[in-house]
C-alpha cells in the first residue's frame, strides 16, 4: 500500500517524522504532520478501480481526492464509429447494474430524433424491465454497502433475491447483466406468459423479504449508530455539484427524472418519490429501500394494465439516418439522472455521443463532504453514494 517513491528514500529519524503536532484538522492551516494514504485502485471498499488519495492526520481525513480513469474505455469515441444499432451493446456496459435504463436512454434519444413512437406494449414492457433492473441494482448496493460496514450475511440474502430477478430477465432477454433487449422502435422480442407469472410471484415474494431486511438491518442499533448523522450532504452542496438520484433525494430535494421530465409510460402509473430531509447516510439508505417498494408498485400496475399488440413500431428504416441537430433524452437510472445527447449530421453514424452519468457528479462532492471525517465514516459515506466506477470513467 505504500506509495512507491516513499520506499526508496531512507526513513528519516523517528522523532522528526512524527512530532506531536496539534490535530487541528483542515480548519485553519494544514496540521503539522499528515501522511498520504492510497485507498485503491486495488481496495475492497472502492467496488472497482477507483483510487482515493487521502491526506490524513491520524484517523481524520484532511483531504480526500478521488483519482479516476483506471477503467476508462472511451465509450464516446466508440459512439462515433458505430451505427445506432451497433452501439446498443455498449450502452449496457456503461453502468452494468442498470443496463436496461441506460439502453432505454440511448434508444429514446434516437426515437426522439427520428420521431419514431414505440407501441404502448413495448413502452410498458420497457418500464417493467427497467424497474426490475432498478430493484436488482438496489439489492447489489444494499449487500455491498452492508459488506463495507462489516455485515457479511445480508449480501447473501440480497443476492438470493436478486438471482430471481436475473433468472426472470434471462428468460426473456437471454443475458443476465448486459441485456441488449431494447431496439430503436420497440423490443427485439416479446415477453412470454412465464415471465409475467414469474414477475407476479417475485413481487408477492419480495414484500415479506423486505420486512425481514428491515428487522435484520434497518432497525439494528449498530447500523443506526453507524449511519445516522454520518456524512451530512446539504441540498445546496448537491445542487452545486449536480448530484442526482438517491443522493439529492436523501438531502430533501425530491428530484426524479420520472416525475420532473416524464418519459416513456411513467405518467400512467402513480408512485411517490421517497425523500428524506436529514441528508445523512441513513437518509440515503432509507431512500433506496423505499424506492424498492415503489418499484414493486410500478411493476404491479404495469402488469395489470399491460396492453396487447405488437412490440415493434411498424416502419423503422433498416439504415437509420437522424436529421441534423442535437437531441437529448434523460432517464432515472438506479444511481441518478442519466442523459444521452446525440449530435447528428444526417449520416447513419452519430457525429457526437455525450453520456452524462450520475456517478461522476455524485462522486465529485465526496472531496468536500469528507473533510475532517474519520476513515471508517468516509468509507461508509462512499458506500452510501452507491458508486459504479465504469460509470464514472466511461
Amino acid at each position: 500500500m505504500i506509495v512507491k517513491e516513499e520506499l526508496t528514500t531512507p526513513p528519516p529519524a523517528s522523532e522528526e517524522r512524527f512530532p506531536v503536532g496539534p490535530a487541528n484538522v483542515g480548519a485553519s492551516g494544514v496540521p503539522a504532520e499528515t501522511f498520504v494514504l492510497n485507498l485503491g485502485p486495488q481496495h475492497p471498499a472502492t467496488h472497482g478501480v477507483l483510487r482515493v488519495k487521502m491526506t490524513m492526520d491520524g484517523e481524520y481525513i484532511v483531504r480526500a481526492e478521488p483519482v479516476c480513469g483506471y477503467i476508462h474505455r472511451m465509450q464516446e469515441k466508440m459512439g462515433e464509429n458505430r451505427t445506432y444499432a451497433q452501439y446498443l451493446p455498449n450502452t449496457s456496459r456503461i453502468d452494468y447494474l442498470s443496463a436496461m435504463t441506460y439502453t432505454h436512454a440511448f434508444v429514446g434519444a434516437v426515437e426522439r430524433a427520428a420521431k419514431i413512437q414505440p407501441p404502448p406494449r413495448a413502452e410498458y414492457i420497457r418500464v417493467i424491465t427497467s424497474e426490475l433492473n432498478r430493484i436488482s441494482s438496489h439489492l447489489v448496493w444494499w449487500g455491498a454497502f452492508l459488506l463495507d460496514l462489516g455485515g457479511f450475511t445480508p449480501l447473501l440474502y440480497a443476492f438470493d433475491d436478486r438471482e430471481k430477478i436475473l433468472d426472470l430477465l434471462e428468460s426473456i432477454t437471454g443475458a443476465r447483466l448486459t441485456y441488449c433487449y431494447y431496439r430503436v422502435g420497440g423490443l427485439c422480442n416479446d415477453v412470454d406468459d412465464a415471465f409475467l407469472k414469474g414477475t407476479r410471484e417475485f413481487v408477492a415474494q419480495m414484500r415479506p423479504r423486505l420486512k425481514m431486511y428491515k428487522a435484520l438491518v434497518t432497525d439494528n442499533i449498530i447500523l443506526r449508530k453507524r449511519l445516522i448523522d454520518i456524512g451530512p450532504i446539504s441540498a445546496e452542496l448537491c445542487r452545486k455539484y449536480g448530484a442526482t438520484g438517491p443522493v439529492i433525494r436523501g438531502s430533501g430535494v425530491g428530484y426524479d427524472v420520472r416525475k420532473a421530465e416524464p418519459y416513456s409510460a411513467y405518467p400512467e402509473f402513480d408512485f411517490e418519490i421517497p425523500t428524506f430531509k436529514e441528508g445523512d447516510s441513513m437518509a440515503r439508505y432509507l431512500v433506496r429501500m423505499e424506492e424498492i417498494v415503489q418499484s414493486l408498485r410500478i411493476i404491479e400496475q404495469a402488469l395489470d394494465k399491460l396492453p396487447a399488440g405488437p412490440v415493434m413500431a411498424d416502419k423503422v428504416p433498416r439504415v437509420l439516418k437522424l436529421p441534423a441537430g442535437d437531441y437529448c433524452y434523460s432517464v432515472e437510472a438506479a444511481r441518478g439522472r442519466f442523459m444521452v445527447r446525440i449530435v447528428s449530421d444526417n449520416r447513419e453514424i452519430p457525429y457526437r455521443v455525450k453520456l452524462r452519468t450520475p456517478c461522476l457528479s455524485n462522486l465529485s462532492l465526496f472531496e468536500e463532504a469528507s473533510k475532517g471525517m474519520l476513515l471508517a465514516d468516509a468509507l461508509a459515506v462512499m458506500g452510501s453514494l452507491d458508486l459504479v466506477i465504469p460509470d464514472i470513467d466511461r
Binding site: R82, A85, Q86, Y87, L88, P89, N90, R93, T153, Y157, D160, D167, E170, S171, I172, T173, G174, A175, T178, C180, C188, N189, M212, A215, L216, V217, D219, N220, I221, I222
Partner: protein, 176 residues
C-alpha cells in the same frame, strides 16, 4: 437519562431480533446450486456464442456466405467466405471464423441474417488456457458434428435445434 435507557433497551431488542432471524435462516435448506455436481436448466433464449444451423433437408449448412452478419457486427468478429459450386445457384460457405474474444453477444448478426442460418448456442463452459481456442471455425465444427453423427448412424439423422445440455468446451473441438 430516560432517552438513553430507552435507546439501550430498544437497541438490545433489535440485536436480539437480528439474531433470531439469522438462527431462523440457519435451519432452512441451502439455496445454492453445487455447480460441478448439479447444473441449472438453461432458458430457451440463452445467448451462447453463435453456431451454424443445418438445413434439415440436405444436412448442409443453410448459410450461403452473403456476409450480412459480417457487416452487421460492431466489433468485426465474423469473417465468412464461400465458393460458388458449379450447378448450384447460390454460393455455399466454406469457412466461418468467429473471434469470440471480441464478441459482445449483442445479437446483431443473428438479427441481420435473413435466412436464420446462425443461432445462439447453449455452451457456457468456455474456460480455456490459451486465447486462440476462442477463434472458432463454426463451419469445420458443423462438419465434425455431421461426420460424427453420420458415422454411427448411416442415415443422416436431422437434429432439430437440439438443446445441447451436455456442455462441450471448445477445447475439445480443434479450433484451427
Amino acid at each position: 437519562m430516560i432517552k438513553a435507557i430507552k435507546e439501550i433497551t430498544f437497541g438490545f431488542w433489535s440485536l436480539v431480533t437480528g439474531m433470531r432471524i439469522t438462527i431462523g435462516q440457519f435451519f432452512k435448506p441451502v439455496v445454492t446450486v453445487q455447480y460441478p455436481h448439479e447444473t441449472l436448466k438453461i432458458p430457451a433464449r440463452f445467448r451462447g456464442h453463435i453456431e451454424l444451423v443445418r438445413d434439415p433437408g440436405t444436412g448442409k449448412a443453410i448459410c450461403y456466405a452473403c456476409k450480412l452478419c459480417e457487416r452487421a457486427c460492431p466489433s468485426d468478429c465474423i469473417t465468412v467466405d464461400g465458393v460458388k459450386l458449379d450447378g448450384a445457384k447460390k454460393k455455399s460457405v466454406t469457412s466461418y471464423h468467429l473471434d469470440f474474444t471480441k464478441c459482445s453477444l449483442c445479437g446483431s448478426c443473428v438479427e441481420a441474417c435473413r435466412d436464420g442460418a446462425i443461432r445462439y448456442s447453449r455452451e457456457y463452459n468456455l474456460a480455456s488456457t490459451n486465447k486462440d481456442d476462442f477463434v472458432i471455425d463454426l463451419f469445420r465444427r458443423l462438419e465434425e458434428e455431421a461426420k460424427s453423427e453420420s458415422h454411427p448412424a448411416p442415415a443422416p439423422s436431422s437434429t432439430p435445434a437440439a438443446a445441447v445440455t451436455s456442455p462441450s468446451t471448445p477445447a475439445d473441438s480443434p479450433a484451427k
